[in-house]
Symmetry: C2
Amino acid sequence: MKRRTFLKVAGLKGAAVASAVTSVAAPAIAQSSPEIRWRLTSSFPKSLDTIFGTAQTFARYVAEATDNKFQIQTFGGGELIPGLQALDAVSNGSIEMAQTPLYFYIGKEPTFAYATGVAFGMNHRHQHSWWNFGGGAAIINEALAPMKTHAILCGNSGTQMGGWFRKEIKTVDDLKGLKFRIGGLGGHILARLGVVPQQLAGGDVYPALEKGTIDATEFVGPYDDEKLGFHKIAKHYYYPGFWEGGAMLHMVVGQEKWASLPKHYQAIVNNAAAAAGTWMLEKYDSVNPAALKRLIAGGAELKAFPQPVMEACYKATQDHLSELAAKSALFRKAKDSHDAYMKETMFYTQIAENFYDNWLLAQMRKG
Amino acid sequence: MKRRTFLKVAGLKGAAVASAVTSVAAPAIAQSSPEIRWRLTSSFPKSLDTIFGTAQTFARYVAEATDNKFQIQTFGGGELIPGLQALDAVSNGSIEMAQTPLYFYIGKEPTFAYATGVAFGMNHRHQHSWWNFGGGAAIINEALAPMKTHAILCGNSGTQMGGWFRKEIKTVDDLKGLKFRIGGLGGHILARLGVVPQQLAGGDVYPALEKGTIDATEFVGPYDDEKLGFHKIAKHYYYPGFWEGGAMLHMVVGQEKWASLPKHYQAIVNNAAAAAGTWMLEKYDSVNPAALKRLIAGGAELKAFPQPVMEACYKATQDHLSELAAKSALFRKAKDSHDAYMKETMFYTQIAENFYDNWLLAQMRKG
């Protein structure tokens, strides 16, 4: 409080007063809004201009809000650090920050599945409510604490597409032996139905699909999928990407680095992350519709997964998540919290939001 | 650049160096992050802790991000300025900022209907995409320019409930002569079907409903409605509130006051508004489900508007909006932009997001 009074006096009355307070005021100011440079590694390539663009937008918002004093330089996956090692790099202090989907790290801690999204889990809107008002952030940050990091919510893809398949999926049996590029828990769940999940980095997927090393691949949604050209090889474009209801994305930051920031820089980072997060979904909604139309015009055949396939996957999901919950108290805590919150939000959403959407969609289909 | 170098030197080397740069550095600093106090009037009472809480959250975020240098004091509707005069007060410079739904002011400019939301219009998610990526902000700010103000998006209610009715609405004929407390364009549209729309401030609604001066009232959603106790008098609780798909809320700021802010304060305000906006919907989703359950337990009878009523209202809406578009080029510009964007976003949402939501709701209903 005293410091601010000093500054005001100095600013209003000029040099004569200022000289009297210099030895206190000048160092205090330099400390209060210091020049800081951080680096941020993304798990995504720069070509994904919506996902990576979210990291760039976040960094720009932070710079603008600090009069360019706090600069965060953004790097694409692999530029400094491989995409799948982003969390480790933040954890060991090699880099200050990462934009990374936490379910990449379920090998370390299965609970991270709930940080991004689980199969048949909450949609983007309910996930964000859970994160900030339902205890989600506290549970995930408990899981991150041993890695001396914490996560700041920054964006969501919304419900994704189910991906590109060389052959039609007509029955549950068609999943048997299917070499499907899908990572994380979604892969583990589909493996219960005979799928052979493949982990491949973004750039390797197209050639693998072309050569027939894999039969199918999921990615994100029309706008991102189109860039990778999957429709030229695998024309059956399925929906929805049920292995996550919405994919929450986070900025992960090292606790020690975080503590070194002035409190108002921390506030600026939190606000910038929320603002860049809204940018992400708004941008996707602005580009996905036209991309989907171009894909269809280019030969993509749009198909919903058949009901028996959805049901078998739903059952496999419940079994798999229950097994994991039986093995880990933290996973169970996340699952119980998520499931209870989902039940509540779904109960309400069907009354107003979903009814309204469905009614209008029916009206639009009538013409 | 030079200024920042000075500060760094002063901060690192202490008083000896600082004394040499004082007369330049101190005033420059005071200017770069000045102490500013603004006042914000809301159109809502403080008792609506989610809507008014969004204004408080916004002000808190701004204060935290500026180390308390930029303080925005929040006032409930009527404390300084009546709720319906918030825009005027900002326009004439009586106050720096207002939290107000712009469709309060369709009497000045009908285009403001699209700033908040029109009947059978886009849902909250698509509205926000339109605002930032579809030209929405530019059109509404064009409409605000004669009032020397501009609007910053800050929150949304999501789809609202249809409100409380003393008697059941079974047919379109039941709307004839119905004294319904509903403001703005929604009221004008329903008047085409015989409704007698009533404009009443929040505090006057309950007694009017009790005395039978009005037959029905709409408000927001379960959490806010419960506080006002409408279910004690009018037990038929209808959904959805089709007179707006989602209600965008804005912070309206005077252009001159805005221009007087340092650029990084402007950035801080924009980020804080986006962040507080996400807070609002997340908060609503965290409290509406339980409130709805309590209302049902307290005797509320939940009902969807009958299909013929919805269809008649849809038709009346299209007629009404088309008539307004024929009279005003700016209204037509907003309508064309909104409608085209809605068509695109609805086309895509049905594929992934809506399919996923519907599938899960069906699954949950099965148990």
